[in-house]
């Protein structure tokens, strides 16, 4: 029986996601296999195309770890990210892919446990969904 370990790309913003990922390591939190962390200065740096390309190029799911809504150091970067995710969701729905494959999670620098738990949850969800049928 072959195991399917969903490939997850996790975009982590410098002000919240990335330090949280660090902390997850320090706390020796268990992370699912096959997670790739992509560091960005702010969630607002994530262009919509990165979300779609990630799926196109082989990911089964994409997570964006960003600051809470009022806490963006660059003022509205996380709001821009939200808008771009919603565009990506609409695209996925229209082409028949599950919009749950792309998700945003808001957290703070010390949310190591939350980050790990979110990644584990996403991995389980993707296992049930199956591999991304759109990957080329």
């Amino acid at each position: 029986m072959s195991t399917f370990d969903p490939k997850i790309i996790a975009f982590c913003c410098d002000q919240s996601g990335y330090p949280a990922a660090d902390m997850a390591g320090t706390l020796k939190q268990k992370l699912p296999k096959n997670v790739e962390i992509v560091r960005v200065p702010c969630a607002g740096r994530i262009e919509t195309i990165y979300l779609l390309k990630a799926l196109e190029k082989g990911a089964d799911g994409v997570l964006v770890f960003a600051c809470f809504e009022e806490n963006c150091q660059f003022l509205r970067g996380n709001l821009r990210a939200k808008g771009r995710l919603s565009y990506a969701h609409r695209m996925l729905e229209k082409i028949g892919l599950e919009k749950e494959r792309i998700e945003i999670c808001h957290l703070a620098t010390n949310s190591g446990a939350k980050l790990a738990e979110t990644l584990r949850r996403k991995s389980e969800q993707l296992k049930k969904m199956g591999p991304n049928p759109g990957k080329i």
């Binding site: 919509t48 195309i49 390309k53 229209k94 082409i95 892919l97």
Partner: protein, 223 residues
């Protein structure tokens, strides 16, 4: 500029059903401004189309190009070599861009990927509104710079009608009554007398869109 909106992707997929290798051609001008068909949107749509076709097991190869202006022959022709390699072209430029490609690549199927909607202004980032209908004889001098042809639902030249209430048009809550805007503007400019003249009927059939295919020829520019 010209405003457009992307067509529903399932409609586009229907157009592309018979083909396996296409060029997705954007435009660096109007559709970039209204975020419907610029380089970014080309990338996003291409990715979506590839994944949609991958999912149904019918792979689609999508080449991407975004000339500066698809409606200019010299820019359109820059894509000649690429176009020779594909079976069809999906253009997310406005209707003019699509037809420019048709004229220069008569043997190539060219499909529209956007609906060209109107000539408009950017109100704020992400919001565009109709401002002009290319009526052929601009009346903006008479109306303080506010167009009654594109902004009045009844194209009145001697408005407002009896449905103007609290500055809004009775047919759409979001729409300001153009004639209220004209009144306010002319009042601010001390030109209200312009609203007292009866403006005669527009010559739709001769100067405007009902006169048939319109054309401008500048002999001095034809070298």
């Amino acid at each position: 500029m010209i405003k457009a909106e992307q067509k529903p992707i399932d409609e586009i997929l229907k157009y592309l059903d018979p083909y396996n290798k296409i060029l997705l051609s954007g435009c660096g001008a109007c559709v970039t401004v209204c975020q419907a068909g610029g380089e970014k949107e080309v990338g996003l749509l291409a990715s979506g189309l590839r994944m949609a076709r991958q999912k149904i097991g019918k792979k689609l190869e999508v080449l991407e190009a975004t000339p500066a202006r698809q409606c200019e022959p010299e820019f359109a022709l820059e894509m000649s070599e690429t176009i020779e390699k594909v079976e069809a072209v999906l253009s997310v430029a406005c209707g003019v861009g699509v037809q420019t490609l048709v004229r220069h690549f008569p043997k190539m199927p060219i499909f529209p990927g956007v609906n060209t909607t109107f000539l408009g202004e950017t109100i704020t980032h992400g919001v565009w509104e109709e401002r002009c209908q290319a009526c052929g004889n601009c009346v903006l001098e008479k109306t303080g710079g506010i167009c009654p042809i594109s902004r009045c639902a009844k194209q009145l030249l001697n408005g407002p009608c009896g449905g103007s209430s609290k500055g809004k048009c009775e047919i759409k809550k979001e729409a300001d009554c153009a004639w209220q805007l004209i009144y306010d503007r002319l009042k601010a400019l001390n030109q209200l007398y312009k609203m007292e003249e009866v403006i005669p009927a527009k010559r739709w059939g001769v100067e405007s869109r009902d006169s048939g295919l319109r054309r401008i020829v500048r002999e001095d520019l034809k070298v």
